[in-house]
Symmetry: C2
DNA sequence: CCGATAGTTAGCGCAAGGGCTAACTATCGC
DNA sequence: GCGATAGTTAGCCCTTGCGCTAACTATCGG
């Protein structure tokens, strides 16, 4: 039961927000300043910064401030945790026969 | 900007909770009744049911009630959305050179 | 039919999440 | 040095999420 990994949890929590997922996508194209990133979203800078902090504190991005500009960089390694999690799922369900599945495969009316 | 897919969003939101991820893992081993699932967690049944509903309404599991027992089944297809999302990330960042990355690769002191 | 079992419904409490404004700090450019 | 630019801090609001109890419904078993 359980197997609570705070790391994995943090990553999933960070990815649960569409704004943050968009930031990740954007950063896939290369490092970008906070201001430039924020311009894509209809929220205020302070609100946006919270997302940046969340992403950073969960390890999905790194940021560096040079002068007055903070630049964000994607941390791909961390996304791999999601991959690992998915892989583990697959491993689990490949280990078993699917006989029982058929019992409920055809969707019936909800009670 | 954006590309808001409610489906993808729902899946990530559902996966953001450790209890729900554990349920997914468990269901990887085969269909299981609500009661049996709930026994693994230190929360009350009604609380647990909310997680089940969340998983179901986001398409990660299906459930069928037979007599007084509700049985849950994993819906693997839905997990594939996560896979797709990750694949898209990789596609994006494979399309570019990594020159800029080095600028910030060595962690500096936080401001 | 009656008690036990398996979920369900209703409603409540509280902490966290995501948004905002206002006001402040720290460069940069000239 | 001064104004504009780029973040940052502080504090507030409101909704949502996740947990709980209490009480109810609906099988199942005998």
């Amino acid at each position: 039961m359980a197997q609570y990994s705070a790391e994995v949890d943090g990553v999933f929590v960070a990815l649960a927000d569409p704004t943050r997922r968009s930031v990740i996508r954007r950063l896939g194209r290369g490092p970008t300043s906070v201001g430039e990133l924020a311009a894509d979203f209809p929220i205020t800078l302070p609100s946006f910064m919270k997302h940046v902090r969340t992403l950073e504190s969960n390890g999905l991005i790194r940021t560096v401030k040079v002068g007055r500009v903070r630049t964000c960089v994607l941390n791909r390694d961390r996304l791999a945790l999601v991959d690992d999690w998915l892989a583990e799922q697959r491993r689990t369900w490949e280990d078993r026969t699917d006989r029982l599945e058929s019992l409920v495969t055809e969707p019936m009316e909800e009670s």
